[in-house]
Symmetry: C2
Subunit: 209 residues, 2 copies
DNA sequence: GCCGTTCTGGACGGTCGAGTCAAGAATGGG
DNA sequence: CCCATTCTTGACTCGACCGTCCAGAACGGC
């Protein structure tokens, strides 16, 4: 009853993401996206609204993917392997950064740095993403504590916040030019300093400075 | 023998920094800077070159300040207080982020995220800044190890990289919307998990995962 | 006080880029 | 087979912005 769309929406969003990822929000031109997708600007505006709305869409999808990746590594599984899951996740994040020879970094970090201050929608999306990652990490840390791989006296919330900070920090220092090899070792070091169960003295770590 | 400048260069750079800091590189207009500084564009271009050169200048000054702050906290002093100096520095960075209610973040992080991929000068400046911070931290960690506040079996290079990652990560998660209180506790947690000298079993932390 | 020199201000040019629009194309229903 | 509807295209508008340019102003030297 009407002319159907000639493009795959997911594919168009993917191409748009490449552009925003490479050049940032302000640095990307709608003409670039039109050329990259092969669409006319009219179709682009008709399907996604203006530049801001398109970016929101791309940014939101990216954040969702970030959480999905974390869920794939962290969610569920026996307590006995919780620490392994955490280690695998942290190392994956480091490896992603270390292998990013083009220094593209993470679109969430880039978009947040550029827009969070001015765009409440971006800020809100970033914040909920952080909360989701934090919750996933906290759950796994608690699991590792139950199994005795991490000091049960430590606060899982605090350790989760530390690991999240390390993961996001790895992205930041990687982009800032720290050597890939150093980036990789940071992940290992962070995992190595997680408090192990005390054999003698009862806890203490993670309650205060 | 010629008309002298009617403006203070440092003050102009300060105003320019405010603009770049608030809006990023692409998002800042030279007219904004002209208005913010009260200078005509002719003076601006005459004194600093084009927009790119002006940003380089501002970005470079900021990076220098970042290192200077770290030096003020970390450089020199007795080994006995090395760990205190490290703690003070890490907590200061966290406090800066936590108190940054306007979410302005760090210009180095913002500039690096936006431009490092495309602008070699920005990338290089960020990289040398990271190296300088890393060296400062490593020196202080080694001092703390000599005094017996940190496990001498740990690799100071690795611990320094971890702390640098935490410091930069704090900035990132703060910008992403993590609660200020959480940001503050991350600093404490990071300091709390630094490996203390072993009383019985000989080292092991920080060599491998 | 005149001159060369450097600084000042802002109008201007040229380009760029976001968003619009109108003419035409593809579809399914009647 | 015709029509209503939605999609497509890219030329177009119009505002924004970088960088220039020039007329004039503020100096020091002579």
């Amino acid at each position: 009853m009407a002319r159907p769309r000639s493009f795959d929406e997911r594919e168009v969003l993917e191409r748009a993401r490449e552009q925003f990822w490479a050049s940032g929000y302000a640095g990307t031109r709608m003409d670039d996206i039109a050329r990259a997708t092969g669409l006319g600007k009219g179709s682009l505006y008709g399907a996604f609204g203006d530049k801001g709305a398109l970016f929101q869409r791309v940014f939101g999808d990216w954040c969702a993917t970030v959480v999905e990746v974390a869920e794939r590594f962290l969610a569920g599984g026996p307590d006995a392997e919780a620490l392994d899951r955490i280690a695998a996740y942290v190392r994956l994040m480091a490896e992603n950064t270390a292998a990013d020879t083009e220094r593209r970094g993470c679109l969430m970090a880039k978009g947040t740095a550029e827009l969070a201050e001015q765009d409440p929608a971006v800020a809100a999306r970033a914040a909920t993403t952080m909360s989701a990652l934090l919750a996933l990490l906290r759950t796994e840390i608690a699991a590792a504590q139950r199994h005795g791989d991490i000091d049960p006296g430590a606060d899982p919330e605090r350790l989760a916040a530390l690991l999240l900070t390390v993961v996001r920090g790895i992205e930041a220092v990687g982009k800032a030019g720290l050597a890939p090899e150093t980036v990789r070792t940071v992940a290992d070091t962070a995992l190595a300093v997680l408090p192990r169960p005390a054999r003698r003295s009862p806890s203490s770590t993670g309650r205060d400075a």
